[in-house]
Amino acid sequence: MTFIQLFFIFAAAATLGAALLVVTSRNLIHAALWLIVSLFGVAVFYVILNAGFLAMVQVVVYIGAIAILMIFAIMLTRKVSQVPKPVFNSNWIWALLIAVVMFGSMTWILNMWPQFEAIPPALDPSIDPLRQLGVALVSPEAYVLPFELASLLLLAALIGAIVVAWESR
């Protein structure tokens, strides 16, 4: 077993454990913090996969923006930060069953894939993946249309947020 594999197992255990604690913890702030640990674990996977850009964006967007917004919202509504009811309801056994079946079938399907155990080829150091990503996002042969559509959607959401905030005055 290589060092990377050990590292992966540790990161995966931390990510899944934190994800479990997100749904079982009764204190909303604690749940939000476990979510951050879980998101950070995903960033570690990107680092293992040599995708430095994705790892950094994961931290900036999910941990630095989305999670902080959640914590901010919970802090402003302190009364609901403790959930008095038990966090499980009677359906938890079915949820567990479905999750186990899903995980099992996905592992099975992936195992049938011939390249499941292939070792990823080393990246060519002369190519800058960051530059390639940037060019791909704005080149007409690649992803310029989805990119522009996404920015249009974000602009619409931005205007929508302003409209919603405006009416309260």
Binding site: N27, M56, V60, I63, F72, L130
Partner: protein, 339 residues
């Protein structure tokens, strides 16, 4: 993997931490001395010659102080918050070069911790984006309304000024056409320091970083007249010391970043022949910038909170966007400048 390399990394990391900790201790001393001189006082002058042992005395005092935890506080988060605050401040400088390559014991050693990372600037923004957690959690876990208000103000302020800061990074990225911090420093060696090309960007960077590290005139989260001491009201002893440590380490960190992005980093005369001059030049630039931050504290009163937010969103952000636009136009109009 080679064991010598691992050893080199560990030594570099420990050295970095030591430099930051000693830097923290003596920045507090510098701040007290400079403030005192500007207010026609002497400042600390009892412990050691010229008060030079004052930071040591302060440290010993804080270690032996009783640590109080409020009864209704969230114990775990209360203890964790100072640690979460200090970690980003200690790790952020990993991608910044402190000099070129030096030859030591027959090894070529680059004077930076993580070496050349192609997403260096994104790493910086990622780490700055998580610095706010410590303040928020400290404020929330204390179960104290002043601490809570301080925490909320800190979040709102840091999130607002992060936008302008992130946009100020784009100027150097465009000019160097790279996100690697090493490449940005090298580009400044070829075309001259970036503050010449980025006067607006440089000023935006300085103001936004002052707001990010909650220094005067943006020390809203701990405005003592309104909020006692803001998010660290309930902290004492070493936990309080960790918050203080973060504040001063952040001062050093933003000075290093400003020097690296706009003032040529470790570059200076003869640094090509004598690589050990690199850290010296960087130290001089950082010292001047830290002095400037302290000078600002001695000079300006605090902003009012609503004006602070209005300034961030209505002046800083549009100016930063304009700066990105101007830089792009400049690069297209004068392609010969980029080397």
């Amino acid at each position: 993997m080679e064991y010598g390399l691992i050893l080199e990394w560990i030594i570099k990391a420990v050295l970095m931490l030591l430099i930051l900790l000693i830097g923290f201790a003596y920045t507090t001393y510098l701040e007290r001395k400079v403030l005192a001189r500007m207010q026609v006082r002497y400042g600390p002058n009892r412990a050691g010659p010229k008060g030079l042992l004052q930071p040591v005395a302060d440290g010993v005092k804080l270690i032996f102080k009783e640590e109080l935890i409020p009864a209704k506080a969230d114990k775990l988060l209360f203890i964790l918050a100072p640690v979460i605050t200090v970690l980003p401040a200690l790790t952020i400088l990993a991608v910044v070069p402190f000099g070129g390559t030096v030859n030591l014991f027959g090894r070529e050693i680059t004077l930076s911790i993580a070496g050349d990372l192609n997403v260096g600037i994104l790493y910086l923004t990622a780490v700055t984006s998580i610095t706010v957690y410590g303040m928020v959690l400290a404020g929330w876990a204390s179960n104290n309304k002043y601490a809570m208000m301080g925490g909320i103000r800190a979040t709102a302020q840091v999130i607002s000024y992060e936008l302008a800061l992130g946009l100020a990074f784009i100027g150097p990225i465009l000019l160097a056409s790279s996100m690697s911090v090493n490449e940005i420093v090298n580009a400044q060696g070829r075309m001259g320091w970036f503050f010449i090309y980025q006067p607006i960007g440089f000023i935006i960077f300085l103001i936004a970083t002052l707001a990010e590290i909650n220094r005067v005139p943006f020390d809203m989260p701990e405005a003592e007249q309104e909020l006692v001491a803001g998010y660290h009201t309930e902290y004492s002893g070493m936990k309080f010391a960790l918050f203080m440590m973060t504040e001063y380490i952040k001062m050093i960190v933003v000075a290093v970043l400003a020097a690296t992005f706009f003032l040529g980093g470790y570059l200076g005369p003869f640094v090509d022949q004598v690589p050990w001059l690199g850290p010296v030049y960087l130290f001089i630039k950082v010292f001047i910038l830290v002095f400037g931050i302290i000078w600002v504290r001695a000079t300006w009163p605090r902003f009012r909170y609503d004006r602070l937010m209005a300034f961030g969103w209505k002046i800083m952000l549009p100016l930063a966007v304009l700066n990105v636009l101007l830089t792009g136009a400049f690069i297209i109009l004068f392609p010969g400048v980029i080397r």
